[in-house]
Symmetry: C2
Subunit: 480 residues, 2 copies
C-alpha cells in the first residue's frame, strides 16, 4: 500500500449521536492524519481557506501534504456501514433462493456453491466482486463467513487487505458427520482447528496487528459442529482473544435439530454457553426465535446479535424483534446475510429492518377492552425509525464487532471510515439528465428538511448515491 496522505474534509457531516438521534454538523471541517485517524473537528467553518487556516495552524500541517475533499451543496459525509454478517462465497447466489427455507436452502443452493470455491480462480472472481461491490455500497467493515477451504479463505483476507476493506474473515467450521454433506465437511474436530489456525496464521502474516483484517472464529452453527470442535474453538478464543461468529435460532427446523442433537443443554443459547462460545466477542446471527431466558443469557454474557431482516424474510425464518433485544440490553448490528438475504447492501438491510419492525408491530394482537391502549402503544413502540436503523447500520454494528471506539461515528481519535453521499437534485422543469441517472433516483426538490433528505436516502438510495468511500483514511472507492 502506498503511504497515505493527510485529509481535510469539509461540508455537512451526519452521524448517530444516540440510538434515537442523528447529529448534523453543517459547515464543519474534519482533519484526518496519515494513519487514518480523525485529529480535529472544527465547526462553523466558512470555507476551505478558513478551514485550512484554522486547522493547519492548529495541527502544524502544510498545504502540500493534504488532500482536500469538499462536499457539494446537498452532499454529506456519513459513517461507513458495518455488515456484521455476510457470506462472501454466496455473493454469486444473491437473489437465488426460490421458495426454500434454511435447511433445504443450505443443501440446494449454498453448500454446492461454497464447496465449488475451492477452485481458487473461481474464488478470486467471486470474492473480488463481493468485496468491490460491498465497498461500493458503503460497507467499510464486513464480517465474513468464507468456506471450509483454507487457501480460498486466506485469499479473501488478502483481497480485503489489498482492496482496503476492514474485515473479519472466518474460515467456516463444519465437522459434524450427520448434518454436513460428505462433499463439504471437515474430517473431525482436529481438522477444524488445524484449518482455523492456518487462516489465523495467514492473516497474522499479512496484517500482524489485525489493524484492517482480523480472523474470526467461525463454528458455522451448532448442528454443523461437534462438541469437540466447539470446545476447541472456544479454547482458541481464550488463547488468542479472537472474536467468534455463529448462527442462532434462525429457523424452527434448525431449532428442533439443536434440541435433538444437544439434549444436555436446555436451550440453543445454552449450547453455545456450555461449550464456551458465548463471550463478549461473539456475534450471533439471526436470533429470531430466542426465548426471554436466552436473551437474558446472551445479555449477561455480553454477546452481540446481528439482525438479518432481509434473510429472515426471504427464507421465511421469522421476524426478529430488535426493540425487545435492545430492551434486554443486547447490542445489535445489521447483517445482509447474503445470500440468505438477496442484497449486498447495508442500506437495504437498514430499510428492511424498518419494514420488518413494522411486520413485528402488525403481528401484535390488540385485544378488546382495557388492554387495547397498551397494545396499541406497544405496536407503535416496536417500529424502528429512520434514525434507529441507521444507528444499527453504523454504531450498532461497530459495537457488535468491538470497534465502537474506532468506527461508526465522527469523533476525534476515531478512524475515518466514511462515505460521501450525494442525492439527485430535481431541475426546475423536472427533466431527467444523464447525471441524474448516475446520482440514483433519490430526488430532492429543495424544500426538504435534512431529516427528510436522510429518510429519502434510506428508502430509495443505492450505491449510486455513495460517491466516495474511505477506510482508515484511504480512498477505496469512487464513482462519478
Amino acid at each position: 500500500m502506498s503511504p497515505q496522505r493527510k485529509l481535510l474534509l469539509l461540508g455537512t457531516f451526519v452521524h448517530s449521536r444516540t440510538q434515537q438521534h442523528l447529529e448534523f454538523l453543517h459547515n464543519a471541517a474534519v482533519a484526518v492524519d496519515e494513519q487514518g485517524k480523525i485529529v480535529s473537528i472544527e465547526r462553523d467553518v466558512a470555507d476551505v481557506s478558513e478551514a485550512k487556516e484554522r486547522l493547519f495552524k492548529q495541527l502544524g500541517w502544510s498545504e502540500a501534504e493534504v488532500d482536500v475533499t469538499e462536499a457539494a451543496e446537498g452532499q454529506f459525509f456519513f459513517p461507513g456501514f458495518v455488515d456484521t454478517h455476510i457470506h462472501a462465497p454466496q455473493y454469486a447466489n444473491a437473489g437465488i433462493f426460490g421458495k426454500s427455507s434454511l435447511l433445504d436452502w443450505l443443501e440446494t443452493y449454498t453448500f454446492p456453491l461454497e464447496a465449488s470455491l475451492s477452485d481458487l480462480p473461481k474464488a478470486r472472481r467471486v470474492y473480488s466482486r463481493c468485496v468491490r461491490r460491498t465497498l461500493s455500497h458503503g460497507t467499510t467493515t464486513a464480517t465474513y463467513y468464507a468456506t471450509l477451504d483454507v487457501a480460498a479463505t486466506n485469499l479473501l483476507a488478502d483481497l480485503c487487505l489489498s482492496l482496503g476493506q476492514r474485515a473479519f474473515v472466518g474460515r467456516a467450521c463444519m465437522d459434524d458427520p450427520e448434518i454436513n454433506p460428505e462433499y463439504y465437511r471437515d474430517a473431525d474436530a482436529d481438522e477444524t482447528l488445524r484449518a482455523t489456525r492456518q487462516t489465523v496464521d495467514h492473516v497474522r502474516g499479512i496484517d500482524p496487528g489485525f489493524d484492517l483484517v482480523s480472523p474470526i472464529l467461525t463454528p458455522r452453527f451448532a448442528p454443523s459442529c461437534t462438541r469437540e470442535a466447539m470446545a476447541g474453538l472456544a479454547q482458541l478464543h481464550r488463547e488468542t482473544g479472537l472474536p467468534i461468529q455463529t448462527h442462532i435460532s434462525e429457523n424452527l427446523g434448525e431449532m428442533q435439530l439443536v434440541r435433538r442433537m444437544f439434549p444436555e443443554a436446555d436451550s440453543y443459547a445454552a449450547v453455545y454457553d456450555k461449550y464456551g462460545l458465548l463471550t463478549p466477542k461473539t456475534v450471533l446471527a439471526h436470533a429470531v426465535h430466542i426465548s426471554d431466558a436466552e436473551a437474558s443469557l446472551i445479555a449477561a454474557k455480553g454477546s452481540k446479535i446481528s439482525h438479518c431482516p432481509c434473510s429472515n424474510t426471504c427464507l421465511t425464518s421469522g421476524p426478529a424483534r430488535v426493540r425487545w433485544m435492545w430492551d434486554k440490553g443486547i447490542d445489535v448490528g445489521l447483517g445482509t446475510d447474503m445470500s440468505g438475504g438477496y442484497s449486498p447492501s447495508i442500506l437495504e438491510a437498514a430499510r428492511q429492518a424498518a419494514l420488518v419492525s413494522r411486520h413485528v408491530a402488525m403481528g401484535i394482537h390488540v385485544p378488546q377492552g382495557d388492554d387495547a391502549a397498551a397494545a396499541e402503544r406497544e405496536k407503535e413502540r416496536v417500529k424502528l425509525t429512520v434514525e434507529e436503523v441507521l444507528y444499527l447500520a453504523t454504531r450498532g454494528g461497530a459495537r457488535c464487532v468491538g470497534l465502537q471506539d474506532k468506527i461508526g461515528g465522527f469523533e476525534i481519535g476515531m478512524e475515518w471510515d466514511a462515505q460521501l453521499v450525494s442525492l439527485s437534485q430535481v431541475s426546475d422543469d423536472g427533466g431527467l439528465e444523464e447525471q441524474d441517472d448516475n446520482d440514483g433516483f433519490v430526488d430532492v426538490f429543495g424544500w426538504e428538511s435534512w431529516d427528510d433528505r436522510i429518510a429519502k436516502w434510506l428508502y430509495n438510495g443505492d450505491d449510486r448515491n455513495t460517491k466516495r468511500v474511505w477506510v482508515k483514511g484511504r480512498l477505496v472507492h469512487r464513482r462519478n
Copy 2:
C-alpha cells in the same frame, strides 16, 4: 408526436405464459408496425439478416422503413410494467412517512403536499419528474391519482401523453366536509362531478380515443366522499364506461370510520356496491382486511384489486393475502402506492410482494398434532414465486386495468409496451469497471440458468438494468 417507424426486435423475449410460468423465447424476432402493434413473431432466427429476410418478405416491409434493435448476449426483452395504483403528486414525498399510519399520514404528509400542487409550475416539476422516473423504471402503464386541482390534473394527462406513458389519470374526488381538511376538499358533490367532467373533457380533447391516456373516475375512498358524490360518479361511469379507482380496507382506523359513517352497509365493499362503484372496471387498492364475504362480493362483481405491498408495510396497514385473492377468483395487479410506499418502481413492488407473502406465511400458526402438516403446506402455498410476482407486475396489472388484450405479454395483435433489460457480466478477475456501475449491481457470472438470472434481476435489479423502454412502439426512455 412524430410519426412512428416500424420496429424489428431480435434476441431473447421473456414474458408470463401463465401465473406460474415464464416463457423464454430465445433467438426470436418480433415485428412491430407503425401503430405500435406486434404483427409477427418468428422463432429460431439465426441472425438479423435471416430475420429481415423472413419477416420483411412476409410483411412486405422494406429495409429503410424499419428500426432494428438487437438484444446483446444476456440481455432480454420483458413486458413493460403496469402500476395499478400510484399517486403522482406524492412523488415529492417518496420515502417520507416517519412512523405514521394511514389517517395521520394523510393529514401530516399527504394532504398538504397535494394541496400545494395547485401551483402549476410546482405541479409541472413534480409530475414531469414522476412520469420520467417511472418510465425509467420500466412502468409503461400507470394508474394515477392526481389531486383535486383540475388544471394540475389535466397537466399530468398532458405530460403522460407527451412523454409517452400509457396512463389512467384520475382527478381525486373528496367532498365530505367532516373527514377532508377545509383547505383541501370539494364544496359539495356537484363540484366533485363538475371538476371530474372537466378532466374527462380535457383528456378527450388531447387523446380522443383514449388510446394512450384515459380519465379514471376517482372517489378517493369512502370516508372522503358523500353518498351523492359516489352515486354521481357511478352514474358517470354508467354513461361513459370510464374505469373507476378507489381504496378499500387498508387500515383498521379507516375501517372503523367507514362503519361509523355508513351504517346502512354491512361492509366496506358493500358501501361501494350500494353506491354503484363495484364494477368490472373498478380497481380497489389495498384490500388488506377485507372479509371472505367481501372478497366474494368483489369477485362476483368482477372488480380488481391493486396489491400495494410496500405501502401496506410502510404504513403498518397489514399484510394482504394475494394467494387468497387469487383463490377467490379476483384479478390482482401491483401498485407502488407511492408515497405510502416509498418506491416508484414496480420491480421493487414485485420484490415486496414476494417478501410480504413470506410474512403472510410466517403469520400462519402451525398447531401441534394432526393439523400441523396442513398448516405447513398452507405456509408453503401462500408464498409467491419469482414467476408469480412478475406476472402480477405485467399481465396481472394489465387485467386490472382492462388492457389484457393489448399489453402485458408478447403476442401478435398486442401492442409493443416493453423494456430491454441488461444485467452486469462479471469479468474473469471480478474487477469493477465504470460500465458495471451503469449496468447496476445484478452480477451474472455466466453459469446461471435463465430462471436464476430472472431471480437475480427481480431481487437486485433497478432502473439501471432497464436500458430501453417502449410504449405502443414508441421509444420513450433509453440509457447507456
